[in-house]
């Protein structure tokens, strides 16, 4: 562990803050282990979460250290347009999720989105969707560990990368193993407060150093970076964020797919103590997310004025921390970044475990033996997978982490299957005529079409057209699902009862059945 206090001049108070934080998170997380008695407690916190905890947990689960590093880096390189991901790429989708998907999932009493798709379509759709998400979440897990070790801890503290990866794996693994979703959410609440204090400190110090927002605007314009202040870029821009892609690909497809179909996000609302708390948690989370670009993108823009000429935009935030923050505050900011990472790692770990237990191994056992896992076995499996995945993620983190721009890489990976997933999810919820074959064809052919779009060069003006790919793959899957559904026999009423939104919302009999299903 070379040079903990070395080149950066970390003071004793910084080290003390870091150690207190790590111990505190560990103790708080493991404390909730005593409340876990069954699989429901472990995976959906015994349905006891209040809206404020859900909202805060959603924000920190979604915003990791890689956002601080990657978004600030993209703001440094491309400008404020990257903030679209936390503005138009969040709020409308979170409102939609709050009033369409969340109450729907909450009432149907499922643990995971693939589980719903399995009930609505068939086992193949459940396993395919579950496997895609499980692989994606696992990759994210490894990537988060690597980014923090490489771009944050190594740059800021000089820590050995392998040491950092295993330290984080140990801290998050132990309390996620012990306390499940309750521990994850309650630790997230504390981490969000720390993250906001640290992030707002960096924002204020950045602007103070430059002379305020007006001075930042003037200096960016004077330096020839006026385009960095355009949030809506033209359709034919070379950059990856044209306004058409932002509104349609991001605002309508990727954001809704992410907020409604991402297990990490939805799992928190499934643990709500009531439907109002589930919806309110989503809205509160959206409101808090409004502030994220201020804490990440503006410091990225400020770095363009204060530290021009950085070769790698992703080093903007670590360099700003070194440049601006005094001892004590530097430790706090470091803890904020660490908190952002830990909260994303614990949430992703818990959700990956849930999907593997419920949708892959659980479904496989049911298909082979005809009998589902018992309550005790599900809890044991959940804990075994927690240990297994964090160890595997730590092992493969250096391999997965070798990518040029972290944020764009993740968005590109997401866009490969987000469009098709949203199409079948939306039709499955809203259209009773959607059939199992329609859903399967929409998902499989949709992912295939996405792959073709993604690797056919010259179709779109942008060099990295992941937003357009998301939009057109969504439209394609929507059409395929509708056409195939209309060509195949409708699903029996008994099968889809309680699984179509109109019934869930307004049919009293269905609501009674769902209530009984949840309480049993």
């Amino acid at each position: 562990m070379p040079g903990l206090e070395g080149a950066l001049g970390l003071a004793g108070i910084d080290i003390a803050i870091i150690i207190i934080y790590m111990v505190g998170v560990f103790v708080l997380g493991t404390f909730f282990g005593k409340y876990v008695r069954n699989a429901g407690d472990f995976f959906i916190a015994g349905k006891a979460l209040p809206f404020w905890a859900i909202g805060m947990s959603i924000v920190v689960s979604d915003i990791g250290a890689m956002d601080f590093v990657g978004v600030a880096g993209s703001a440094y390189t491309h400008g404020i347009a990257v903030a679209n991901f936390d503005w138009i790429g969040s709020m409308p989708a979170m409102v939609f999720a709050a009033f369409v998907f969340v109450p729907y999932f909450w009432r149907s009493g499922v643990f995971t989105i693939p589980e719903f798709l399995g009930r609505r379509y068939n086992a193949a759709v459940q396993v395919i969707h579950g496997t895609i998400w499980a692989v994606f979440l696992f990759t994210m897990l490894s990537l988060m560990l690597w980014v923090t070790a490489d771009k944050l801890m190594y740059v800021v503290l000089g820590w050995n990368r392998q040491f950092t990866i295993w330290l984080m794996a140990l801290i998050t693994g132990v309390y996620t193993f012990s306390g499940g979703l309750s521990a994850v959410v309650m630790v997230d609440v504390v981490q969000m407060i720390i993250m906001f204090v640290g992030g707002l400190s960096l924002l204020m110090l950045s602007l103070w150093q430059i002379g305020g927002w007006g001075a930042l605007r003037e200096q960016l314009t004077a330096a020839g970076h006026a385009d960095h202040l355009n949030i809506l870029l033209p359709h034919n821009t070379d950059l990856p964020y044209p306004w058409t892609g932002i509104v349609f690909g991001l605002g309508i497809v990727l954001a809704i797919a992410y907020m409604s179909g991402n297990q990490v996000i939805v799992q928190r609302t499934l643990g709500a103590r009531s439907e109002w708390h589930a919806k309110g948690g989503m809205l509160f989370g959206g409101f808090l997310k409004s502030f994220i670009p201020l804490m990440v993108a503006i410091p990225g823009l400020s770095a363009l004025v204060l530290i021009p000429g950085l070769k790698d935009g992703d080093t903007a935030v670590p360099e700003m921390i070194r440049l601006l923050l005094p001892p004590g505050l530097r430790g706090l900011m470091f803890v904020a970044l660490f908190a952002a990472l830990i909260s994303s790692v614990d949430s992703t770990l818990n959700s990956t475990t849930t999907i593997w237990t419920t949708d892959i191994l659980g479904r496989f056992k049911q298909l082979v033996t005809g009998v589902a896992f018992g309550e005790r076995h599900v809890l044991i499996l959940g804990r075994v997978f927690t240990v297994l995945f964090i160890i595997l993620a730590a092992l493969v983190a250096p391999v997965v982490g070798q990518t040029e721009s972290v944020y764009v890489f993740i968005q590109t990976a997401l866009s490969l299957f987000q469009g098709p997933t949203l199409a079948i999810l939306l039709l499955g919820v809203c259209w009773r005529r959607a059939t199992r074959w329609g859903g399967l064809a929409g998902l499989v052919l949709g992912v295939g079409f996405t792959f073709i779009l993604n690797f056919t060069e010259g179709l779109f003006p942008s060099e990295d057209p992941f937003l357009f790919v998301a939009w057109w793959s969504f439209v394609f899957s929507l059409i395929v699902t509708v056409v195939v559904s209309l060509c195949t026999p409708p699903e029996p009423d008994e099968k889809i009862r309680g699984l179509v939104w109109g019934q869930v919302v307004s049919d009293g009999v269905v609501q009674r059945i769902l209530t009984e299903r949840v309480s049993s």
Binding site: V95, P103, G458
Partner: protein, 90 residues
């Protein structure tokens, strides 16, 4: 792989996407305000949908209180206002 896929699919897909791209480029040039209007429309449309399109009982089911602060329609509007300001400003 990229070359092979491009060789096979570009001639099939380009006639579909090329006119769409051309239209959007012309739209940008002819009406620069269009992108702002469409973006704001997404926010305003979502707010209107919640306030007018959904029943109050559905939105606030299980609410802990009947007071105004527990009305999630109000939460929606308050949560979205900062975003509208942002897209008007930038």
């Amino acid at each position: 792989m990229t070359e092979a896929i491009t060789r096979i699919f570009f001639p099939i897909l380009n006639p579909i996407f090329s006119p769409i791209n051309d239209f959007l480029v012309h739209l940008d040039a002819a009406a620069p305000v269009a992108k702002r209007l469409v973006t704001l429309g997404l926010f305003l449309g979502t707010m209107l949908w919640v306030y007018v399109g959904l029943r109050k009982q559905y939105v606030n089911l299980d609410a802990p209180s009947n007071r105004f602060w527990a009305d999630l329609r109000l939460w929606t509007v308050i949560s979205m206002l900062p975003h509208i300001f942002v897209y008007l400003y930038f």
